[in-house]
Amino acid sequence: MLLEVADLAVDLVTPDGWQRVVDRTSFSLAEGESLGVVGESGSGKTMTALALMALTPEGARVSGSIRFEGRELVGLEEEEMRQLRGDRIAMIFQEPMTALNPLHSVGAQVAEPLMLHRGLGKRDARERAVQLLERVRLAEPERAARSHPFALSGGERQRAMIAMAIGCSPRLIIADEPTTALDVTVQARILALIDGLRSESKMAVLLVSHDLAVIAGHCERLIVMYAGVIMESGPVETVLREPRNPYTLALLEARPRPGAPRDERLKTIPGAPPAQHEHRTGCPFAGRCALTVPICRTTPPPETQFGASHMSRCHRAAEVGFTR
């Protein structure tokens, strides 16, 4: 297994004290596989991604286990982590300017990890950078290499960042909302590009998104997170066809369906996600969930398995999934 995450927890220090923003999170990712992580704001999806890269905010406490290529990453020295980052694991962010330096040419920045991790000389690295820009299908790669990031459009910058991420042929790409700021037509191209790179180089992709439909189209497996906890996980098709968790079902039903009558009422989820400082016992979705019964408020729900790889964390999981 390329990546094995077991009982991951992330605690952040806040004005209200330590807050657990990721809890009891376990999943794995095989070589070449694509896994989607979906959730609303505050679900812990981005913090999970950052924990894999050891990029959690200053002072955060990460516990549990993250095994990557057989090596334990939790507790690894920053120096060793730096060796992995940008080489074996790379990350693509929503806003390319968080990864790109506005003062340096795109070519120089794509070349940098190649010099750092692969020991390439400046000229070879630059040459390779142009090839990478061509590989992410930037029009006129040589001109793009000489340009500064601000001279590129949003979609072009995203391609440049992907070129930088794939330079050292990482085995795992973590993409956090990589297309959220882009137009839908540009989004479709960027996601297709990531799909293509994955199948060409057999790298694994962890795609974090608030948009179930984005994940449905581009991932094999899916994790649904809520309030820091995995509520449901399994093969994308199975989870979308037969969701076994009320939260997943609610997410599916809240979206306007294409082709539905114009004035069809959308199903809403009452209330709001629990605030971070709220002490929780039981299921974090209790109270907002239509199936809430007393045990939901007192006891954390067990992991219920449906077949080999479909899991729902819900006291009433067996009753969900037949309404669609």
């Binding site: 609303e40 704001s41 299908r137 029009a139 001109r143 793009a144 000489r146 340009s147 500064h148 601000f150 001279a151 590129l152 459009s153 949003g154 072009e156 137009d183 839908v184 037509t185 540009v186 989004q187 479709a188 191209r189 996601l191 297709a192 590009l193 799909d195 293509g196 608030h210 948009d211 179930l212 439909a213 984005v214 449905a216 189209g217 581009h218 979308l240 609610a250 997410l251 599916l252 809240a254 979206r255 306007p256 369906r257 294409p258 082709g259 539905a260 114009r262 004035d263 069809e264 009422r265 959308l266 199903k267 809403t268 989820i269 709001a272």
Partner: protein, 320 residues
């Protein structure tokens, strides 16, 4: 007067001078709006979709009379906004309000909800304190909040509730037209559904008609009976929303529909890459269009009838 459309824009032209930097900058002056015309009937919310650079936000600013067009006319209830004396324009503005994308950024955190929601009333001239409080209470209740919420501050509300506060503010002058620029795209799915249901209710019960600008076709289809698809400053297709998205006539509409992620089918194959510049005289979409041929590069297609329900498309070779 009652026969005039609620909002009518005709032949709007607006050009911004672009001073580009760097090798990829576009040096030509590109019109943000190159002759845009449509009308919105009362009670029939209208959608505008298109990508960045399509001119949809410029259109919103001009429709609200926040910006003047280089040419063209905007009529609200039959009266041309830019021909009105300043005092009458101010009075007309009360009929139109705006909701923005970001419910966090558009509410002053230091003010109480009461003051935030009452703010547009200033344009109405003098109002008594009692009248103001009554209107704020009515507005808050119309969006499903409590009258007592008026005394709280924005941070005491969730994201979805804050968007409701922004909508309550827009409603306080009892506008007939609300221009909503990406009103739900910053919201979580569960909150988005509440806001969309609220917008449907307001159209039905409060006599509000929306001009909804969004990149999300499903959101537009949920609220709007008629939709215009914009590309580089022009409307390339317009018609009843459902028909438009289920059987696009313009290749750009088809590209938008295909590119939209959906749960019920896999993502479509990668469309052809965009070329940086469009032909000076031809169809702006031609460089991206898989169906483009000779006439597309020489002349700009104009909107022509393309099916039932007043559908029109600006394409020499509309799709069947």
């Amino acid at each position: 007067m009652s026969e005039a459309p609620l909002l009518e824009v005709s032949s709007l032209v607006k050009t911004y001078r672009l001073s580009g930097v760097g090798p990829f900058a576009r040096r030509n002056v590109r019109p943000a709006l190159a002759g845009v015309s449509f009308s919105i009937e009362h009670g029939r919310s209208f959608g505008v979709v298109g990508e960045s650079g399509s001119g949809k936000s410029t259109l919103a600013r001009i429709a609200l009379a926040l910006d003047r067009p280089d040419a063209g006319v905007v009529r609200l209830d039959g009266r041309s906004l830019f021909d009105l004396p300043a005092r009458e324009l101010r009075a007309m503005r009360v009929q139109m309000q705006m909701i923005f994308q970001d419910p966090y950024g558009s509410l002053d955190p230091r003010q109480r909800v009461e003051r935030i929601v009452a703010e547009p009333l200033a344009a109405l001239g003098r109002t008594t304190g009692a009248e103001r409080r009554a209107r704020v209470a009515a507005s808050l209740e119309a969006v499903g909040l409590k009258a007592s919420d008026a005394l709280k501050h924005p941070h005491e509300f969730s994201g979805g509730q804050r968007q409701r506060i922004a909508i309550a503010r827009a409603l306080i002058t009892r506008p007939r037209l609300v221009i909503a620029d990406e009103p739900v795209s910053a919201l979580d799915v569960s909150v988005q559904a509440q806001t969309l249901n609220l917008m449907s209710d307001l159209e039905r019960d409060a006599g509000v008609t929306f001009l909804l600008i969004s990149h999300d076709l499903a959101v537009v289809a949920h609220i709007c009976r008629t939709t215009a698809v914009m590309y580089r400053g022009r409307i390339v297709e317009i018609g009843p929303t459902q028909a438009l998205f289920s059987s696009p006539r313009h290749p750009y509409t088809l590209e938008l529909v295909d590119a939209t992620p959906r749960l019920d089918r896999p993502a479509r194959v990668e469309p052809p890459p965009a070329l940086p510049d469009a032909p000076a005289d031809g169809c702006a979409y031609a460089p991206r269009c898989p169906y483009a041929s000779a006439p597309c590069l020489d002349r700009v297609p104009t909107l022509a009838p393309a099916g039932e329900g007043g559908r029109r498309a600006a394409c020499f070779f509309p799709l069947a």
